[in-house]
């Protein structure tokens, strides 16, 4: 029983990375932009936060550095895609490839570094409840922040005026433009905010999950986060649940090994990816459902005046 509680705790931990990145991508996509550069942004953010903590010892600075690095990259992406109308998919890919190469390159001097001792967190009283305590209440504050953020995001998107504007830009930028909104600046803001969240995810990965720098350490999580937004039909709460599901499947693979389950480990490793494909197929099957949930201008360039 104890080990299931711990499995749950590990799931929350692993899922938070995916959740933060996916939520960032969701914001992008609500405004109509697909950013395939999540992987590259997360890598550069992870390195930036690692370097910041190595030199300053402050986790807060580390998180800020990660957010800043990713937001900067996202801004460059945004300018290219929104003002220079470059192909969104190609630009996002370029960002991923460049981010991977650059972080590997810049991180060379840091491969052997280590961070100062990582603090332990536990909510007083709640953290001591048997079973539930270790499962749910001994996480890094960022885990709870992520949950809180989801709640805020739901309010923002569906109950606030700014959120409505954002969504309308994603649904029909021409109409929003006709109404006098600065579509391009709103999209840029969304892209930068989304990038910032991806940066937060990268920072969390390296400061909390695995405090070691090695090139390519994001290991495909950026791509899974992208899949998550579609899979969750662009709704924040579903994104969070999907992220935990994926985090769980990854942890489950090792749990099953340790429990002596006699399945080739490679098939267990395949699970998260196969699961993504299956769910994608099921979700996309109903084109009406997709059309109802997907921002209509997703991926299309916007030309004011056209």
């Amino acid at each position: 029983m104890e080990s299931y509680a711990l499995l749950l705790a590990a799931t929350l931990n692993a899922g938070t990375v995916l959740a933060l990145a996916a939520l960032g991508l969701l914001i992008n996509e609500k405004a109509g932009i697909v950013n395939l550069g999540a992987e590259g942004m997360m890598l550069c953010a992870a390195l930036a936060s690692f370097v910041a903590v190595v030199h300053s010892g402050s986790d807060v600075l580390g998180f800020l550095a990660g957010v800043g690095a990713a937001a900067l990259l996202a801004a460059i992406f945004g300018v290219l895609v929104i003002w220079m109308n470059t192909n969104q998919y190609a630009t996002g890919l370029a960002l991923s490839l460049f981010g991977a190469g650059f972080s590997a390159f810049a991180g060379i001097g840091y491969v052997q570094e280590k961070l100062p001792e990582r603090p332990h967190f536990a909510i007083p009283v709640l953290g001591d409840i048997p079973l539930l305590g270790p499962a749910l209440f001994r996480q890094h504050p960022m885990v709870y922040l992520a949950i809180g953020f989801v709640i805020w995001l739901i309010w923002f998107l569906y109950r606030s005026r700014a959120g409505l504007v954002l969504r309308s830009v994603g649904e029909s930028p021409e109409s929003a433009h006709a109404l006098g909104y600065h579509v391009r600046f709103i999209r840029l803001a969304a892209v930068v905010a989304g990038g910032a969240l991806c940066g937060l995810a990268g920072a969390y990965l390296i400061l909390v999950y695995t405090p070691l720098w090695v090139e390519g350490m994001v290991a495909g999580r950026g791509w899974i986060a992208l899949a998550l937004t579609t899979f969750a039909t662009w709704r924040p709460a579903r994104v969070l649940l999907g992220a935990y599901l994926f985090g769980g499947v990854t942890m489950l693979q090792f749990h099953l090994q340790g429990a002596g389950v006699d399945v080739a480990t490679q098939f267990l490793t395949m699970l998260p990816y196969l699961a993504t494909i299956v769910v994608l197929a099921l979700i996309s099957r109903n084109p009406t459902w997709i059309r109802v949930n997907m921002p209509a201008s997703l991926g299309k360039p916007f030309h004011p005046g056209s």
């Binding site: 711990l6 590990a10 405090p211 290991a219 942890m251 090792f254 340790g258 080739a264």
Partner: protein
């Protein structure tokens, strides 16, 4: 594409190719003729007109020099060679050489650069080394952890299982839950042997222990090593060992209040509270001997060297202060016994974890037996992935 476009494309391409070549060829005068003198390789000793031509030695590494593990240990060996031989050698290295078709190109380039002794530090270079050795009989090749040899190619390895055994002794003494965990990299005999030796060592001081194993599938994958270590701890293990190349497992143990070991290099700094000891590989002695032999003309191929504690290649260092005195004494006894040959780790009776006897009473395992270990000893849970099909 219209003819006009095609023509202009070709024109522009041709012009730029010519321009680029011209630009670069201008700098060509720095590039010497076919047998180049050593250029500014980072590890090269300054060549100030040595009396005899220094021996050029090159190393091909699978990972980055800064990995704090396998490649780091090899590079320390290379530095030991430089220190020992001074300006009689010029060393260089290429890191991150993948175990793929690219390795052949890198090795040929090393030969082309005038290196006469080339070390390939991972199993996956085997086929490439065989090919290149076959084409360049005047160059000597050394392949780590491989098994193919030739007149100018020989293999070398370290008895990491001795380090694993010593770690096991400490683990057996320190565990409170009697459950040990190992994060395995790739299920090859070397790693399985290490898991078994770890278990045998622990059983020698604490017959009640059991060992759980989780495989990451790669040598170096910190995020997954973390997840694997977490799942082992969640499954009840309180002392961990790993056969992977990073300090992730140790750091995870530190975070979760358990104990663990350093592997390949001294990892005390990565988990000061969790660290129980580091099973280190010291490639210096072997590299110095190999280079020395080459310099004196005593180098011969068709050999397989397997060095351990006896030759100074393996050691258990930085044992934690809270390890009981009697355990530390036992470790010293094991080391002494390995050095003078009076102690043998793999001596029967040894049973596999299905109950079958694999080594009869008092029988001593030879290197061939050790090289093909495909089973878990009693005390280890589970089955070797992809193994045991006799």
């Amino acid at each position: 594409m219209t003819d006009l476009k095609k023509r202009s494309l070709l024109q522009v391409a041709a012009l730029s190719a010519i321009a680029a070549t011209a630009l670069v060829a201008c700098g060509k005068k720095e590039e010497p003729a076919p047998a180049p003198a050593p250029t500014a390789a980072p590890a090269a000793a300054p060549a100030e007109a040595p009396k005899a031509e220094p021996l050029k030695v090159a190393f091909a590494y699978i990972g980055p020099v800064g990995d704090g593990g396998w490649t780091f240990a090899h590079d320390n060996g290379r530095k030991a060679v430089e220190k020992e031989f001074g300006d009689k050698v010029v060393t260089s290295f290429v890191e991150n050489v993948p175990e793929s078709a690219d390795a052949e190109r890198v090795l040929r380039d090393m030969v082309g650069q005038g290196n006469k002794l080339v070390f390939g530090t991972t199993f996956g270079y085997m086929e490439s080394m065989v090919k290149v050795a076959g084409d360049h009989k005047d160059v000597k090749f050394e392949h780590a952890t491989g098994y193919k040899t030739a007149d100018n190619l020989r293999t070398y390895d370290s008895r990491t299982y001795e380090g694993a055994y010593m770690a096991g002794v400490i683990a057996g003494a320190m565990t409170k839950t009697n459950t040990l965990g190992v994060v395995g990299s790739v299920p090859i005999p070397e790693v399985v042997r290490n898991i078994n030796s770890f278990t045998l060592g622990a059983q020698s001081v604490n017959p009640k222990i059991k060992t759980k194993v989780v495989w990451v599938g790669k040598w170096f994958d910190p995020p997954n090593e973390t997840a694997a270590a977490t799942s082992l701890i969640n499954g009840g293990a309180d002392v961990l060992m790993q056969n992977t190349d990073s300090s992730a497992v140790l750091q995870t143990a530190e975070k979760m209040g358990k104990r663990a070991f350093g592997w390949d290099s001294d990892m005390t700094n990565y988990g000061p509270k969790a660290h129980l000891g580091s099973a280190v590989i010291n490639w210096g002695p072997y590299y110095i001997k190999a280079v020395g032999d080459a310099l004196e003309g005593k180098w011969t191929g068709n050999m397989q060297s397997w060095w351990g504690v006896k030759e100074g290649a393996i050691d258990m260092v930085s044992i934690a202060a809270d390890v009981p005195e009697e355990t530390k004494k036992k470790i010293d006894e094991v080391k002494a016994g390995l050095k003078d040959g009076s102690f043998v780790i793999w001596k029967g009776p040894i049973k596999d974890n299905a109950g079958k006897e694999v080594l009869a009473k008092d029988a001593v395992a030879d290197d061939k037996f050790l090289g093909g270990i495909n089973f878990y000893v009693q005390g280890v849970e589970g089955k070797v992935p992809g193994g045991e099909k006799k």
